[in-house]
Symmetry: C2
Subunit: 453 residues, 2 copies
C-alpha cells in the first residue's frame, strides 16, 4: 500500500504519523514544497516575541524521526498535478528543478493555506513580510531585533498576535485595518470593545487605526521606509507585516476535478473523503462542518488540522473514523487582553436563518476582593424561537477563555438557555464570583426569550 501525503505542517504530519502506526509496512511519503515539516506555525508570533530563543522548539518531528518510523519526507518537492485516473502525481523537485511522476494507492491532500496579498504599490519591497512558514518567522524575527518601528496591515488573529510580539520587543507599532473594526470574526459591538480596551491600555508605543486604507508603500534598495494611506498619513517604518487573511490552497485539487465547497476550500465528508475515490483532504485546505446547524465553514486552525489529519489517516488506512465537525471555537491574546469565541455570532446566526437574541454582561472574573480580579465582557447568543444556545463571545483581561470553553461544551450538548441555567460551575473566590458571568448572561438571555415568545 502506497500512501502519499501532500503537505506536512499539521494535518499532513499528523496523518503520516498516525498512518505509520496503523500500517507499519505501508510505503508512506510526504511531499511538501516547504523547507520544514511538522511544526507549530501558531507558535511563530511567540518566537518573534522572544518567549524562546531557538525556533527549533516549534519543530514537532524531524524528517529523521519520520524516517525512523519508515516515513519518507521530501522537502522542497511541490506537487504540480494530480492524475486521479492513473493515480499518479507530478512532483517538482524545487532544488534540482526537475519534475518526476509518483504513484499512490491512497492520497491525502494537506497543502494548507496561503496569505492573501492585496495589490498595493511597491508591495515587493524588502522587509514587507507575511507570516506562515518557519522561514517567515526567522526572517521577521531577525528584522524585528534590528528595528524600531513596525506597521502591521490587518487586525485579525495574526495581526493582533504580532502587535503583542512587536510591543514586547520594544517596537513602536502601528496596526492598520481597512475595515471599521479589528477582529471582524466577532460581532461589531464586541470588536468595538476589543479596540477600546487595546487602546485604553495603549501607551505611546502602539496605535490601532481602523477604516484606514493603504495607498502605497515607499522605500529604497534597503527596503520599505514608509506606509501611506488614502487619508494622507505617512507612517515611517522599518518593516511591514501583511496579515490580511489567508485562503485555502485548492488550485491543484480543482485542476484534478476535486470538488470545492461553497466556502472555497476542498469539500470533504465526515471521513475526510473528497468526491474522488481514494483521495482525502484535511487541514487548512479543507472545509469543516459547523455542527450547530450542519452548514459548512472554513476554520484554518492547527487543533482542527490535527484531528482531521488523524481521521483522514484512519480512513485511508482502512479503519473507520469520523470527524463530525467544529463548533468554531477560537481564542487569542493581545498583550493582557484575551479574545475568545465559539459557535455563531449574532450576525452569523442571522445569516444562517436563525432569529437570534443576545445578552451581554461585563463582570468580574472572580470575587471582587481578590487582588488579581479582572473584567470580562461576555455576549451569549441563542435562538429566540427554540431557546437553543448558538454561540458566545468573551473578551477581557480576565479569564475569558474558560467561559467560552464551558459554553462550547453546552453547544456540543445542544442545550437550550433554560437547560444551561441549571448549571453548577465551580466556585471559590480566586476562580469566579458567586454567580458566574455565564449565568448572569444566561439569565438575561432567558428573560429576553420569554418576552419574545
Amino acid at each position: 500500500m502506497k500512501l502519499v501525503i501532500l503537505g506536512g505542517v499539521a494535518a499532513g504530519a499528523k496523518a503520516a504519523a498516525k498512518a505509520g502506526r496503523l500500517l507499519p509496512d505501508a510505503q508512506i511519503d510526504i511531499y511538501t514544497d516547504d523547507t520544514h515539516v511538522s511544526y507549530s506555525a501558531c507558535g511563530l508570533p511567540y518566537y518573534i516575541e522572544g518567549n524562546f530563543e531557538n525556533y527549533e522548539i516549534l519543530l514537532v518531528r524531524s524528517p529523521e524521526e519520520f524516517k525512523a518510523q519508515g516515513i519518507n519526507v521530501h522537502l522542497q518537492h511541490r506537487a504540480i498535478k494530480i492524475l486521479p485516473e492513473s493515480k499518479q502525481i507530478l512532483i517538482f523537485n524545487i532544488v534540482e528543478e526537475k519534475g518526476f511522476l509518483i504513484e499512490y494507492d491512497k492520497l491525502i491532500i494537506a497543502i494548507g493555506a496561503s496569505p492573501v496579498i492585496q495589490q498595493i504599490n511597491n508591495i515587493n519591497l524588502k522587509n514587507i513580510f507575511t507570516l506562515r512558514k518557519i522561514e517567515d518567522g526567522i526572517a521577521v524575527k531577525e528584522k524585528v531585533l534590528r528595528s524600531k518601528n513596525a506597521v502591521i496591515v490587518g487586525g485579525g488573529y495574526i495581526g493582533v498576535e504580532l502587535l503583542e510580539a512587536f510591543v514586547q520587543q520594544g517596537l513602536r507599532t502601528t496596526l492598520i485595518e481597512y475595515a471599521p473594526h479589528i477582529m471582524p470574526m466577532f460581532d461589531d459591538d464586541i470588536s468595538k470593545i476589543i479596540k477600546n480596551q487595546l487602546t485604553e491600555h495603549s501607551n505611546s508605543q502602539y496605535e490601532i487605526l481602523t477604516s484606514e486604507i493603504i495607498s502605497e508603500f515607499s522605500g529604497d534598495m534597503d527596503g520599505v521606509r514608509s506606509v501611506r494611506t488614502t487619508s494622507g498619513l505617512d507612517i515611517q517604518t522599518d518593516l511591514v507585516m501583511l496579515c490580511t487573511g489567508a485562503k485555502p490552497n485548492v488550485e491543484i485539487a480543482m485542476d484534478a476535478g476535486i470538488a470545492i465547497g461553497e466556502t472555497g476550500a476542498i469539500k470533504v465528508n465526515e471521513k475526510m473523503e473528497t468526491n474522488i475515490p481514494d483521495i482525502y483532504a484535511c487541514g487548512d485546505c479543507a472545509e469543516e462542518t459547523l455542527v450547530i446547524n450542519n452548514t459548512k465553514i472554513w476554520m484554518p486552525l492547527g487543533s482542527i488540522a490535527n484531528k482531521e489529519g488523524r481521521c483522514a489517516a484512519m480512513n485511508a488506512c482502512g479503519f473507520e473514523d469520523i470527524f463530525p465537525g467544529v463548533l468554531a471555537s477560537a481564542v487569542t491574546r493581545c498583550l493582557d487582553l484575551t479574545m475568545s469565541l465559539t459557535g455563531l455570532t449574532e450576525k452569523n446566526a442571522r445569516k444562517h436563518g436563525f432569529k437570534p437574541v443576545s445578552a451581554t454582561v461585563t463582570k468580574n472574573d472572580k470575587v471582587g476582593y481578590m487582588p488579581d480580579v479582572n473584567n470580562i465582557t461576555l455576549k451569549l447568543v441563542a435562538d429566540s424561537e427554540s431557546g437553543l444556545l448558538l454561540g458566545a463571545q468573551a473578551v477581557g483581561t480576565g479569564d475569558a477563555d474558560k467561559r467560552i470553553n464551558v459554553f462550547a461544551s453546552a453547544l456540543l450538548g445542544k442545550l437550550t438557555v433554560e437547560e444551561f441555567l441549571a448549571h453548577d460551575l465551580t466556585y471559590a473566590p480566586p476562580f469566579s464570583p458567586t454567580i458566574d458571568p455565564l449565568l448572569n448572561a444566561a439569565q438575561i438571555l432567558a428573560s429576553k426569550i420569554k418576552k419574545t415568545l
Copy 2:
C-alpha cells in the same frame, strides 16, 4: 403576607433580597443568631491571608440596606422552636436574654451548618479556633499577626485554604490529617498527588502530616502551646485551627417534625419545600439532588446556597421556580496548586452502583514552549456500560479549573465519552496544547470502554 427567614449569611440573605423585590409590600424578617448578616464566608481565608485589610469588604448588604428595602434584620436572635400547626416561632434575643413569639405565613429556614468538633483533651484552650463566621475570621487574623507557629487540624477545603493563608502570613505551619489522605473528596490516587505536589513545593515553612491522630492539646492561661499526637509528636504552636468538617444545622427542624434526608440535611423538593406546608429550606442546612443520577448529596457551598435562596424566595412568594440540583462542582487553591472536581469520583461512582472506568493523564496546560506552562493531572470517570460521563478531577499548578468546568457542561448535557470526543475546544499556544488534556484523557477513556464492552 408575613415572610420569616431564619439565617442570613448566603441563602437567607439572597432569599430576603429576592422576596423584597418580588413582594415589596410583604413583611419580611430575618432572624439570625449571628452578629452579621449577608456576608461571604468563603472569603475569610483570603482576609486572613492579607489579600485585603478590612473585613467589611466581605459584607454584601448591611442591615441598613435591607431596612431600606423594607426588610427587618434581627441580629443575635436565635430561633428556639418552630410550631408549624400555629405557624409560630419562639425566638430568643441573645443580648437581652429574652424569648418571644412571632408568627409567619411562609417560613424559609436557612440556618447553615456548624463546625464538627472532635473530643480532644483541652480543646477549650484559648487560641484554638474554628472558622465559620465573621468574628471567627477577625479573631484568627488578629492572632495570626502576633504568631510564629500554627497547627491546622484537618486537610479539607478550609484546612488547605488556611495553610495558604498562614504560609503567606509567614507562619511556620503544620497541617495534621487523621486520615491517610488530605482532600478526601478526591479519589485516593488524586489525593496522593495533591499531597505530593504540596510537599514538593514545600520548604521548611510548612509540613503536612497524614494518618496522624491528635491525642491532646496542652497550654496555659495564655492559650494553647503544643499539639501532641498518638505517634509521640509534640508540636509547639501559637494557635490551632480546627477544620475537621461541618454538619448541617437541623436540630430545630427535626424538632418541628421537618423531615431530614439520608444525607443528614433537611429534605427538600426542587421547589425547596420541606415536607411541612409553607416551610422552605435552603443553603447549607438543606440537601441537594445530584442530577447525574438523581440521588441526594450535601454540598454546603456559597454558590449553591445563593441559587437555593433565590428559588425558595420565588416559591414562597407565590411564583414558580425550580432548582434542579447540582453536579457537585468545586474548586479550591492552596498556594500555587489548584484542586477542582465535578460529578462523581471513581469511588463514589462505584458506591452509586455504576461500573466506572477511569483515565488519568498528566499534561501541560498550554503549549510547552510558552513561558508560563504548567502541569495538570486530569482524571476522567465514565460508566463502562453506557459510556456516560460521570465525573472529573483535576489538580495542578496549571489551569485545572477550566478543564473541570468544561467537563461540568458535558455532565449537564449528559454526554457520553464518544460524544465528548467530538469536542472543539479553543486552541492557541498561551491557552492550551494543540490537543487539550481533556481530549487526551477522553481518548484513553474511550479505548478502555471499548475493551470492556
